[in-house]
Subunit: 143 residues, 2 copies
């Protein structure tokens, strides 16, 4: 999660909402990414999406069975679904996102009967550090 | 929707699940894509995602206000969320997807309080042609 926090910090210095994600398989980091929606003019370029796409391309496979994802913020529904499609084994996330989250809030993607693979979910990992980054970013933007 | 059906057909000939999507802005097609998850080893490469990403990059903006999306199958939650993030104005889709859809089924993304922009949704457009393509594809795979 420290690596994910670094990715989030770097995203913040690029003017992006500071969220970072890291994928680990068999004890090795296979992808790490921060949010790049502004830089790329791409509303789908959330940290989790970029990490999943990078890892899949790198491994030459559509699925990441056995991989664990660390992300600093509760994934939105888009990312929650992508995590499911990629067959990620465990999801560890930091801050909860009552306004945009899709795991413990709103669509609660993994709780739906239409969800064909749900990762094990562990929330509140480095929650304070993750949330502080986001709070600092939005406070700075308001001033 | 004819263009979207063509994209779906072409996806099928590539061995992909035959789904196609077209984005229209001010009467002009700004992006058209078929499913490419297998070809790209990318579980996020659904037709809608590729069309949205292409259009945003082409227009140099993260949002597609005023754009309308035509897609042959009910979008999943991942795509439904991306459509919302991109501020697509109207969503026209063909076949319903009770097993994986995220608009009228399962997470019903646009019905959630956490959804900040919902397009106008029109379903059942060229439904038979869209569904026939999918049925034919899966029937051929089973034999």
């Amino acid at each position: 999660m420290d690596l994910a926090l670094n990715e989030a910090r770097e995203a913040g210095t690029r003017g992006e909402v500071p969220v970072g994600a890291v994928l680990v398989l068999d004890g090795a980091v296979i992808a790490a990414a921060g949010n790049r929606t502004r830089e790329r003019n791409d509303p789908t370029a959330h940290a989790e999406m970029l990490a999943i796409r990078d890892a899949c391309v790198r491994l030459g496979q559509e699925r990441l069975a056995g991989a664990d994802l660390y992300v600093t913020l509760e994934p939105c529904a888009m990312c929650a679904a992508a995590i499911s499609f990629a067959r990620v084994r465990r999801l560890y996330y930091g801050a909860a996102d009552p306004k945009g989250g899709g795991v413990a809030h709103g669509p609660r993607f993994y709780a739906q009967a239409t969800c064909h693979h749900a990762p094990e979910v562990y929330s509140g990992i480095a929650e304070t550090a993750s949330a502080d980054l986001l709070r600092g970013f939005f406070a700075a933007r308001r001033t």
